[in-house]
């Protein structure tokens, strides 16, 4: 008999990568199973609001969700480390930790008490560091800057004197246009281009130190997951691994033209001066220490990731052309 899982999404299905990769899962699994297993994609808000999918999967009102662990740090601070780590690993190293270094398993342990089984289902290219109305030449230029910022990086920015703002999604563009805020982080060039941020801010900063790679997840209600056949579970796992590869390749490919088009539209592409980047880095280390001291699971995940990276360093240095 046919099995259907209702999957609520955090991102609109049409949104480049963030949403399209979720839609892709629906399609891949449909084809793999010959229509016998349906993972039905629902737009954000259709079943539950975008950021309520955690509770909904947990209590079983929806079967599954397409999201990122980064949104759940208010419930479990450690989950932030499974989505995007400031000064974190790139896609290669991150997937190495997640899939072969015990990362994904650890994440699943953290989700288990919430009755959720979560699978890493995409890992994509770096984000930009953000759109700024004015050039930033020193750490001092950051002081008093009003910037919309989300995620662990917000704590770093705040410590450097940035007044981080919480803005409703739709208010970001008009606020940046009018100078209500001075800067915003958003997404990758290919996504930012369509959203027209170049019309209101001309300085585009890289690298996105706060988000060198972003992981997305397929969350499934634990009872529903346990109730699936071994074959169905295997199809979902395999579809997600394939999605990781497809998303990574696509993400790398589409930035090229987007970046060129942005430059053509008069956007200045900046890279952070070493001095500023170093300050971000040392501040992040302080923040990470503090977070680890506050939360046991965060500490465990942070240590696992740090140890992995320490060991990886040697290979990273000798294996690749620098």
């Amino acid at each position: 008999a046919k099995t259907t899982l209702n999957m609520a999404s955090t991102y609109p299905g049409s949104l480049t990568q963030l949403g399209t990769l979720g839609k892709a899962i629906e399609e891949t699994i449909d084809k793999m199973s010959g229509g016998e297993l349906e993972v039905k994609f629902f737009e954000p808000g259709a079943l539950v609001p975008a950021l309520e999918v955690f509770d909904a999967v947990s209590n079983g009102s929806v079967d599954a969700a397409w999201s990122t662990p980064g949104y759940w740090q208010g419930k479990e601070p450690s989950l932030a480390l499974f989505a995007a780590v400031p000064f974190g690993p790139d896609v290669r190293e991150y997937t190495a930790w997640l899939f072969n270094g015990g990362g994904e398993e650890m994440m699943q342990e953290i989700y288990a008490p919430y009755n959720i089984h979560s699978i890493i289902c995409a890992v994509i290219a770096p984000e930009a560091s953000g759109w700024f109305r004015k050039e930033i030449n020193s750490v001092d230029d950051l002081k008093g800057l009003k910037m919309r910022f989300f995620g662990l990086g917000a704590k770093v920015m705040q410590r450097l004197g940035v007044d981080t703002q919480l803005l409703a999604g739709g208010d970001i563009y008009p606020a940046l246009e009018r100078g209500t805020i001075d800067a915003t982080e958003f997404s990758q060039p290919a996504i930012d281009l369509n959203l027209g941020f170049y019309q209101v801010a001309k300085h585009y900063y890289f690298p996105g130190w706060h988000q060198q790679s972003t992981a997305f997840e397929l969350m499934i209600n634990k009872e529903r997951w346990d109730g699936l056949s071994e074959q169905e579970q295997a199809m979902i796992n395999t579809a997600c691994r394939a999605n990781v590869a497809n998303g990574m390749a696509e993400g790398e490919a589409i930035q090229v033209d987007a970046l060129a088009e942005l430059e053509e539209k008069g956007v200045t592409i900046h890279t952070w001066p070493k001095e500023i980047l170093d300050t971000f880095h040392s501040t992040w280390n302080e923040v990470a220490e503090e977070e680890a001291a506050k939360d046991e699971k965060f500490k465990k995940a942070w240590e696992s990731l740090s140890t992995f990276r320490e060991n990886y360093k040697r290979w990273g240095e000798v294996g690749y052309i620098q």
């Binding site: 419930k75 989300f150 662990l152 981080t164 703002q165 919480l166």
Partner: protein, 205 residues
């Protein structure tokens, strides 16, 4: 019936106290917004060590309580909008019947189930020590989430109160001064006068 009406009076009194207090949240809401805007631009210091994100989050906290605390009171104050195209043309007794059926089959079950569901939702947040999604935002999110079971419980109470009053009206024993808080029409008071006398007689007997 008199006992039931006393229950209604007690509920209405509770709703009025909570609702009238809740209404004043509009003022702190306004002040927080203005304060946030002013501190952002004119270098005014931020009080209590709060950051902008926390001010902005407290705006929706205040707003949530503004409507949650007033939802039930709005029913007895007849602020909930009705489409009374047809209701305007029916007899007073039918209006009481509509109100009773509405309370019994729509409002009360809706409030009971929503209270139950949102209580569970609040408890999950309470037990997990949930904080804001923003790392620099407010903690203790359960303080906000408990507004939902409060709202639905107050709404359910309002439904019970109106049901009793409508029942009294339907059986001709509703004091005229309670008419407006039951179904909202003022122009039918004349119809009530005679039933009221009967009720008085009934009480004396």
């Amino acid at each position: 019936m008199a006992a039931l009406l006393n229950v209604s009076r007690a509920i209405d009194g509770l709703l009025a106290v909570v609702g009238r207090l809740g209404a004043w949240l509009a003022v702190p809401l306004l002040l927080v917004i203005v304060y946030d805007v002013v501190t952002r631009y004119f270098g005014v210091p931020k009080f209590f060590g709060f950051n902008s994100t926390q001010y902005q989050e407290s705006e929706y906290w205040l707003h949530a309580y503004l409507f949650c605390l007033m939802m039930g009171y709005a029913y007895i104050r007849q602020a909930h909008v009705r489409i009374d195209l047809i209701r305007d043309r029916v007899a007073l007794r039918t209006k009481f019947l509509i109100e009773m059926l509405g309370c019994l089959f729509a409002l009360i079950p809706y409030s009971v189930i929503a209270t139950y569901l949102s209580w569970g939702y609040f408890m999950q947040s309470y037990h997990s020590g949930e904080a804001s999604r923003s790392v620099v935002g407010l903690s203790h999110l359960w303080l906000l989430k408990i507004s939902m079971p409060i709202m639905f419980a107050l709404l359910g109470l309002a439904g019970i109160s109106v049901f009793f009053k409508a029942l009294a009206g339907w059986s001709g024993r509703l004091p005229p001064e309670m008419l407006h808080d039951t179904i909202g029409t003022d122009d039918d008071i004349a119809e009530l006068v005679i039933p009221e006398e009967t009720a008085e007689a009934g009480r004396r007997a």
